[in-house]
Symmetry: C2
Subunit: 230 residues, 2 copies
Amino acid sequence: MAADSRTNAGVDHISTYNKLFDFSVPGERALVLCTAGNLSTTQSLVIAIQQDLKHQRDPNLHVLPTLYECARYIGEKARAIQDRDREWLKRDGIDGQCTLLLGGQLPEGDPELFLIYPQGNCIQATPETPFLQIGEIKYGKPILDRTLSFETTLDAAAKCALLSIDSTMKSNISVGPPIDLVLIKAHTFRISHRLRLKRGDPYLEEMRRSWEHSLKQAFEHLPTLTWQGD
Amino acid sequence: MAADSRTNAGVDHISTYNKLFDFSVPGERALVLCTAGNLSTTQSLVIAIQQDLKHQRDPNLHVLPTLYECARYIGEKARAIQDRDREWLKRDGIDGQCTLLLGGQLPEGDPELFLIYPQGNCIQATPETPFLQIGEIKYGKPILDRTLSFETTLDAAAKCALLSIDSTMKSNISVGPPIDLVLIKAHTFRISHRLRLKRGDPYLEEMRRSWEHSLKQAFEHLPTLTWQGD
């Protein structure tokens, strides 16, 4: 799972916030949440989830038996938080919605990935649709469509995710560094690897240089256009 | 200038319409309009422009002295057409807006490219921002950002445009073939070349094969990720 760190409320309000939240119990359950949308809503949501854990309220993310139920639980929380501010935000034309990804693995299940809609319902990644995106998704989708499949190795998938976010950063100023990346290996029930790539990070620079060089070559190798009437 | 041909009003209403309109007087003035947005609005607009030409009303696209004035004239027409239907469309939550590109060259000017906003005002391409996009723009922007500059040759720019639309078609079903492409050489005052690429067109297939092969190779050449703690 990968995310940028830029939040904006217009060009005068650009700031950096972490969008990946780890709720894992290492060795027992891997649970990572990725957030997009209204920052006040997503921060309130993370606080609400943390409070349930701290006070051991039932349900919470450490007692629910399946990742699906965790996703539905988070969806319910997101509904309640959006409902609390909806009328006030609406008056000023502000969108209070949030969209979320929940990935991980619980003892009784396979590794799974859910997308939780602003409406609180959710969908799941499948072999036919092996990746899910939230937030500013369009710029980075073509790279994923052309490089990712269910058979892609975990390390290659991590590179795909970085490339996709890097392409988005180049085309849209609402997406910006640092990029956070976490990797969960099946049946380890913990975050196996994590990476934070800041602006100017040598790997990011090298990846971008390599990709741009290759794209230029790819472009030069395109077949010659024959115009009608030529 | 390049465009796909798909129009949709929901998944039950997908159809094929030309989005490039040639208003040139060959040898005297080159004028090509590209449309995006509500189909009823853009068709009404093209009819209105044609009627002014047919009845030699003043102003019209064949008497206005600069491309900027042509763009403002089209913007005024688009405003009037949107105003006529606005209240009725608004009641049913339908977006009647249109966005347009106007490219070409008039005897007294350089080759120019304008983007006309739904509000009727316009902006122009410049050496720093040598391309303009309308419609479903995000999927195809990263390729343009990475391959196009003001120094790009016309033939290479045509390939960029095709690649950009092909990438968008792969990632979004609201964009579909045939792809129309026209090329205007400076100081010829006419469309120099035109091309219509239907689904399965051999060039399109070959271009896509070449591009996908190169991207896979580019991906394999990316530097190896080193995880923190490795």
